[in-house]
Symmetry: C2
Subunit: 231 residues, 2 copies
Amino acid sequence: MSAQSFYANVPRHLVAVDCIIFGFENSKLKLLIMQRKVDPMQGEWSLMGGFLQDNESVDEAAARVLKQTTGLEDIYMDQLSCYGDVTRDSGARVISMAYYALIRIREHEQHPTQQFSAHWLELHQIPDLIFDHRQMIADALKKLRDNAHFHPIGFELLPEKFTLSQLRSLYEEIYQKELDKRNFRKKILSMNVLEKLEEKDKTTSKKGAHLYRFDKQKYEELKRRGLVFEI
Amino acid sequence: MSAQSFYANVPRHLVAVDCIIFGFENSKLKLLIMQRKVDPMQGEWSLMGGFLQDNESVDEAAARVLKQTTGLEDIYMDQLSCYGDVTRDSGARVISMAYYALIRIREHEQHPTQQFSAHWLELHQIPDLIFDHRQMIADALKKLRDNAHFHPIGFELLPEKFTLSQLRSLYEEIYQKELDKRNFRKKILSMNVLEKLEEKDKTTSKKGAHLYRFDKQKYEELKRRGLVFEI
DNA sequence: TCAAAAGTGTTCCGCCTACACCCATGA
DNA sequence: TCATGGGTGTAGGCGGAACACTTTTGA
């Protein structure tokens, strides 16, 4: 069988990417969602999405969609899962690859999301969404929890400089669980992956809290010694 | 914009599923691979694969490919990852969803794999494979390790009745690490998810080893109490 | 001076790890 | 009787969890 005839009669499909975009602001985990501009379901709430083009990899398509909807590049993104039911999209048969992204909202604010009718919403504020997008969010949250547990991805959601209180409240949001202040500090500092800065953040207390910075070099050193990040 | 025009001019793509099929035999973890029957790369070693059809979900396509190549149904399968580089398949632009499956080789042997030129090979015996299939296997192994750590999926690779020695050597294969006999027994038995049978397996020792069976009820009970399977 | 968040140590308990000998039995 | 794999218990150490008071300083 020639290559030509082998591939010739195979059905082709629409392939989409949908992005679950997480942010963290005011000690709350948030998601970026938009109102859909096309039929079917025009005006309904939706994740950010787009179709795979011929000249881009699937990962590149996801990065493109993210850039088009937030203006941001070089963002942490990871494949979530493939959603492939025949009737999941009411407009046509579309296979969707879902990605989740972690955004520093402060940096994002410089780029207008208005043109996309995009909004940052807290988890409990999320309205009904089109298709299987709510399931995608549920799956993304689970994956975020699993990944955050053993990989230093939480820092992707924080400003470059952050306080330990901010870091702790981020993990409390991700895990939906209170964390002991002393034990948290002990654990994160014992891994020796943070750089303590001289600066203090005085916006949330009179005393001021030391700022820290995630040190990728130190993290690589941790891994090289066979130890694992865990929080 | 009408629904028709919105979807009309979007490029369509070939979508494949590839299956990384794990088995366990003679205390060795094995993979089922075959020699490709079509060009390009005819005769080269390859994972089991096939193309997504119009009338099936992506998960169903994976199950179909598995059934066509092994004769087995109702097999443990899980999505691995999407492989979407533009040039990953030298014959055409093909997006592949990889799945990994866990097989009880004994049950499989009743179905001839010969017609597919399929072979069970140990990990270190795997030859060069087409496209990005070797990467898929590496990713599948990593995912298998991660999943086996906190989910009782190892039992999918063993006969219904098994000895603790068999179970331990399975995990030694998965983790590529020796496990202490006493500690392993203590841990697995303390979770109370195994049913101890009266029967003994005398094939590997004169004394005979007790057979056990994974008890799904007990496992659900474990989860209900908020505890996690861990091995 | 006081309110509000930052920062700091210790104890206890459970779990993981390391480790060596007897048992049952077919050949 | 002996070789082979099956089966069993304990002691020590480490890490996780629980827990309350002092410090700083702007208002």
